[in-house]
Amino acid sequence: MNKIPSALELGIRRGGLEIRQFARQRESVVFTLLFPVILLAIFGSVFQNTIAPGVTFSQYFVAGMIASGLVNTGFQTLAITIPMERDVGALKRLRGTPMPASSYFIGKVILIFVSMVIQIILLLGFGVAFFGLDMPTESSKWLTFAWLVLLGSACSTSLGIAFSVVPKSGRGASAVVTPIVIVLQFISGVFFVFTLLPTWMQQIAAVFPLKWLTQGMRSVFLPESFAAQEAAQSWELQKTFVILVIWLAIGLFFSVRKFKWQRT
């Protein structure tokens, strides 16, 4: 008898399969990958003011869009598509095979990561080409960027999988999940300059990961001098790291413990 394939090997194969399926759904490819670019085009054209010396609103907005892209692609996509897969029996079928749960999750992580990278490249390319976006030159900033993307997608993916038990059905999932994401975007400094929001709103936002991701991304794309204008007069990168790790742990805990393979 041959050996049963390892969980990692199957996870990588599932990732390939997920990407192939995603690429064949043309509408969702366009929506997921180009939506941030479309938003940048709209906001960048409407708000052409500078919010601090040398900082255009586009610059501020790109940082926020990359951060909220992490939340959209991971959390929103998974919290909506997993209940749909559960509804049609696809998850139950998988559960009946020797494929381990971890392989399914690894496949999702690969899908989210690949689509995230494509999204970021599109957004940055478009920003540089049309909205005078300044790319950071210091390698330390790119290092910050790298860990924010990695930790941010991990966090958002695990929370998306964890939250997938909340919608009762695939059809209602979008109605449950989308408002949460939109509200978070509004209060976390994606569409508005964070410090212009009322203090209580800032305090609520500070509980959730998106606020920290946007602030972290601003540390990458905005000049060092802008740190003084943040709520805490600093980029607070260490605190950001800790908060994202806590949310990642919460997401992982509920993903592993509470994941539902079938409608009850």
Partner: protein, 283 residues
């Protein structure tokens, strides 16, 4: 060792006692059919055997393994079984051959993908996207995914619901072929003719308990029950219940001088017996 051994199985959902003490023994190499009306505890029992649900009480052994155990052992166990679910409507943007190929990678000893596609009759559709398949073709794909891992035991839940008669016959041939290649099968079905055509033994479950286990021919004393002889006498249709239908017919034949008008000899169908057992008596 028995293939499946169930003793005193119980399961409740809140106040509803879905399964109240089921005992079952299923042998290697047989097609065993579980019959019962909706809400009889049929699906719950099967889902416990498949490892989808946990039980409240009793012992369960499937291929010598407790299905509610998790972890690596559970993977090894799933490697040896195949499950064909009742209603999967996942319509992927993958082709038939891509899907089967991918699933074959889950198992240690998968069957040849081409052979499986051929045996379920999807050769012409192998490059079609799953979302574009018809209902019957979909079901064939389900079967292909259920048998790709060369299972020792196959769970088959309501396999031919929605099939036309021709497709059902073709499907039955496929299942019989699997059995002759050594796969044991646990079949749940609503169709009694299906159980009769396929099953070596049937169990009738009602209100959470097994009412009887027998061969389809013997169920409910069917083989020994009285036959009904019916014929036409002038304008009237007459009938007689008897243990000796042959002598009744011989006597009738003598009376009518040869041909008996509109002669019919019947024994209760599996359906009659079954309906009686589950308490729906239709006279």
């Amino acid at each position: 060792m028995k293939l499946i051994e169930v003793k005193g199985l119980q399961k409740s959902y809140g106040d509803v006692h879905a399964v109240r003490g089921v005992d079952l023994e299923i042998d290697q190499g047989e097609i065993f059919s579980l019959l019962g009306p909706n809400g009889a505890g049929k699906t719950t029992t099967v889902e416990i055997l498949e490892g989808f649900r946990t039980r409240d009480a009793g012992s369960v052994s499937v291929l010598g393994f407790d299905p509610q155990t998790r972890g690596r052992e559970s993977r090894m166990w799933r490697n040896r079984i195949g499950i064909i679910l009742q209603s999967s409507s996942d319509a992927d943007d993958l082709t038939v051959v891509e899907t089967i190929n991918h699933f074959s990678g889950y198992y240690s000893n998968p069957r040849n993908v081409d052979e499986v596609i051929y045996s379920v009759g999807l050769k012409e559709k192998e490059s079609a996207l799953v979302r574009n398949l018809s209902g019957g073709q979909r079901r064939r794909l389900d079967v292909a995914l259920g048998i790709i891992g060369s299972p020792e035991l196959l769970f088959l839940d309501e396999p031919t619901t929605g099939f036309d008669p021709e497709a059902r016959r073709a499907f039955w041939a496929l299942i019989q072929n699997l059995r002759s290649n050594g796969t044991s099968i646990l079949l749940t079905t609503h169709y009694l003719d299906e159980a009769e055509a396929l099953a070596d033994r049937v169990a009738v479950i009602n209100k959470g308990v097994i009412v009887e286990v027998s061969t389809p021919a013997d169920l409910g004393g069917r083989a020994t029950s009285q036959a009904k002889v019916q014929w036409r006498d002038g304008a009237e249709t007459k009938s007689e219940k008897t243990d000796n239908p042959t002598s009744v017919v011989t006597a009738l034949s003598a009376r009518f001088n040869g041909e008996v008008p509109e002669l019919v000899v019947t024994r209760p169908s599996l359906e009659d017996i079954y309906l009686e057992m589950i308490g729906v008596v239709d006279e």
